[in-house]
């Protein structure tokens, strides 16, 4: 089948979507951005294709009558979890190899044995963690290998130190050094191999539910997806390995993406990892004015990342935690780097964890408010996009502040909001082909 791809190479995460010829999203992929943009784009795209294939699989399963709805859903979820598990273990193996290679370095001559034993224990710990995470009913703390493996790594390492093992630093340093190459390599197995490996992970009982499953999987895995055009956008767009005419400015893509998701959108707020954008669009989705933070990354998504790190919890958990707060602490400085220190200070001052976290969310939203005010305020309808839109506490704070100051509003948040830029890009790709705009005619 024919399809289009949009890639948004953000400062924190890289997102890709696959659109069908009707402009519907059929697949989404996300990965963290890294020093190698090509890899990031490739991984995101691969993920998007994976998700597209899973979507097709789901469609096919849906059409079947020999299996109950319940079983079908269970099967799907288990297969997806197992697939992710496989991916994770692949990365973990690569991490292990890199660590072992690293330990061969001369400077570890005296500590090699100790560290290598510790590594064994740590990896075992991570594998166990993975076993418990990659089951259908678990909510993952993060989608990314770095985050999941990293926090399990640190936890295990600090246990080891406490029990008289090697210095904490020496182990964490090993992780820091070796996670980079791992992130910059892609999985060597193809979709089909991975899928089949996942298939074999499924418990027997589940497999018996559908006798022809293996065959179906094969078919899906080998189905040809014909990519007509890819358009890239985002912070890293200039570095994308694409021709110039396949690149659009992130502001345009966000504006269009938001307009497509919610056609009545007038104001768009996008809070990403390192930038915040306030965009005004006209009824056709064309950007009329915008403001962006420059020079300072205070109050962007990374800020929440630092806080989650500081608390050693996952990003996903931060919002719900703040939602538990009834009061909030007023926080004025949102320097990302200071976030951790400020958090500790306030804890030491006896303020409640949840209230502080609640205050931090409010602080981010207030910073975004100044950008919004500068770009021309908020006009109904108001669409919130970017990674931070996934965070319920940020959304709550935004709704409160916006309504207090601009009156009652329709606040749109799509489940796909993190993909807004990518959707815009994908749509540009589609328009280029469908409307017959030849490459080069409509530059970014």
């Amino acid at each position: 089948m024919d399809c289009f791809v949009g890639i948004d190479l953000g400062s924190t995460t890289t997102k890709a979507v696959v659109l069908d010829t009707a402009g519907q999203i059929i697949g989404r992929g996300i990965t963290n951005s890294r020093s190698n943009y090509d890899v990031a784009a490739q991984v995101a795209k691969q993920e998007a294709y994976t998700s597209a294939r899973f979507a097709l699989l789901s469609r096919e399963l849906n059409a079947r009558e020999n299996i109950t709805k319940e079983d079908r859903e269970m099967l799907e979820a288990a297969l997806l979890a197992a697939y992710r598990h496989e991916l994770f273990l692949g990365s973990l193996n690569r991490l292990e190899n890199h660590c072992r290679e690293d330990l061969e370095n001369l400077r570890f001559a005296n500590t090699r044995r100790e560290l290598s034993q510790a590594l064994e224990v740590i990896l075992q710990g991570i594998r166990e963690t993975a076993d418990s995470i990659f089951v259908p009913e678990s909510v993952a703390r993060s989608d990314f290998f770095r985050d999941i493996a990293g926090s399990a790594f640190i936890e295990a390492a600090s246990d080891i130190t406490r029990n008289g093992g090697p210095a904490f630093d020496s182990m964490v340093g090993m992780f820091d050094r070796n996670i980079i190459p791992v992130e910059n390599e892609t999985e060597t197995r193809g979709f089909e191999d991975l899928l089949m490996a996942a298939y074999h992970r499924l418990p027997k009982g589940l497999l018996e539910k559908d006798a022809e499953l293996a065959e179906l999987l094969k078919r899906i895995a080998t189905l040809e997806l014909n990519e007509l055009r890819t358009v890239g956008t985002g912070y890293g767009r200039v570095r994308l390995p694409f021709p110039r005419d396949c690149i659009r400015s992130e502001i345009l893509c966000h504006g269009l993406g938001a307009h497509l998701m919610f056609p009545a959108t007038a104001t768009v707020l996008d809070i990403g990892g390192q930038d915040t954008k306030a965009i005004q669009v006209d009824p056709q989705g064309v950007v009329t004015s915008f403001q962006m933070n420059d020079r300072c990354a205070a109050g962007c998504g990374r800020y929440l990342g630092y806080i989650a790190d500081e608390m050693n919890i996952g990003l996903h958990e931060l919002g719900p935690l703040a939602m538990a707060s009834k009061r909030r602490v007023k926080i004025n400085s949102t320097c990302t780097v200071f976030a951790g220190a400020e958090f500790r200070d306030r804890l030491a001052a006896g303020q409640e964890r949840v209230d502080i976290v609640n205050g931090l969310h409010r602080a981010i939203i207030l910073r975004a408010m100044s950008l919004l005010a500068r770009s021309g305020g908020i006009t109904n309808e108001f669409t919130f996009t970017g990674g931070v839109a996934k965070n319920p506490a940020a959304v709550r704070a935004l709704r409160e502040v916006a309504e207090e100051n601009y009156g009652k509003l329709i606040l749109n948040i799509a489940p796909d909001s993190i993909y807004t830029g990518a959707v815009g890009a994908g749509t540009f790709a589609m328009r280029d082909i469908v409307q017959g705009i030849k490459p080069g005619q409509e530059a970014a």
């Binding site: 943009y37 600090s158 904490f168 630093d169 980079i180 990302t336 220190a341 030491a348």
Partner: protein, 279 residues
């Protein structure tokens, strides 16, 4: 003979020093450094304090004065607290008696101070609400580059064509670095570029306090030979007659200084002990 301890609680690490003696005749018995890394600070303090005592062969109850510095005023069992620039100056003077100034670069802040031959602080300057150019910043960069912090200095020194780094923000600089990497700039050149941009700010602080003569780098980044070289170079540009050095013990300057001031206060509070103690 007095026994004192200095505990310097930073935002990145806890440093402890145990010292014997006072009144110009001091001896450093032990030091200990423990990075915090998301752990409970007070636990880390306890751990490192015990380790330092063990190394010094001293019992807790033998100590005459426990002085804290940095964020150490949270520690309930301290005798007294001295502020960072007070302790870093004194510590710098102990480590390098010819020093008349110190630059302390810690995890979040950078400060420069000028002091007398008695360790009295005369003038000082700190960076403000922005963490650009701090240790945390460099640590993030190192992480992106996949090098350990110990490697930063030696690598930076190998640079042949330092890259210009414009971003002043610690967070945005990470992105800059990603860009540099994908443009194929070598790690040494990236690191030196960042060192250079940090050095501009640091040199600004040093000029603001009008420090002259020998300046000791203290704090964690004093181990970073690349940064020292960059600062030295920037200060030469500005024609200020200064010389910048690092030292093994630099990272402990705050703890050492605290222990020394602890002894000083102890004698002030218990006069007569100095002569009685016999050095």
């Amino acid at each position: 003979m007095t026994l004192t301890a200095g505990v310097d609680v930073g935002s990145g690490a806890v440093k402890v020093a145990i010292m014997r003696g006072g009144g110009g005749n001091e001896e450093l018995l032990a030091t200990c450094l423990e990075r915090i890394r998301r752990r409970n600070v007070l636990d880390v303090v306890d751990e490192s304090f015990e380790a330092a005592l063990r190394e010094a062969g001293v019992r807790r109850d033998e100590l005459d004065y426990i002085a804290t510095s940095g964020e150490g005023d949270l520690i309930p069992w301290r005798t007294g607290h001295f502020y960072g620039m007070t302790t870093h100056s004194r510590g710098a003077l102990f480590i390098a008696p010819e020093a008349r100034g110190a630059i302390d670069i810690g995890a979040l802040h950078t400060r420069a101070m000028r002091f007398t031959n008695e360790g009295r602080v005369e003038k000082y300057q700190m960076t403000s609400q922005c963490a650009s150019g701090s240790g945390q910043f460099l640590e993030n960069i190192a992480r992106y580059l996949g090098v350990s912090i110990e490697e930063i200095g030696p690598l930076s020194l190998q640079s042949d064509e330092p890259e210009k780094c414009s971003s002043i923000c610690a967070v945005l600089a990470e992105t800059d670095v990603i860009n540099m990497v994908s443009r194929g700039i070598s790690t040494p050149n990236i690191l030196r570029g960042i060192h250079n941009s940090m050095a501009v700010r640091i040199a600004g602080l040093v000029r603001a306090i009008k420090s002259e003569g020998m300046i000791l780098m203290t704090g964690g980044l004093a181990r970073d030979a690349g940064l020292i070289a960059a600062v030295q170079e920037k200060l030469q540009d500005g024609k200020s007659p200064v010389e910048v050095k690092g030292h093994e013990l630099s990272v402990h300057a705050g703890a050492i200084g605290a222990a020394l001031w602890g002894a000083f206060r102890h004698y002030k509070l218990h006069p007569g002990e100095l002569s009685g103690g016999g050095t």
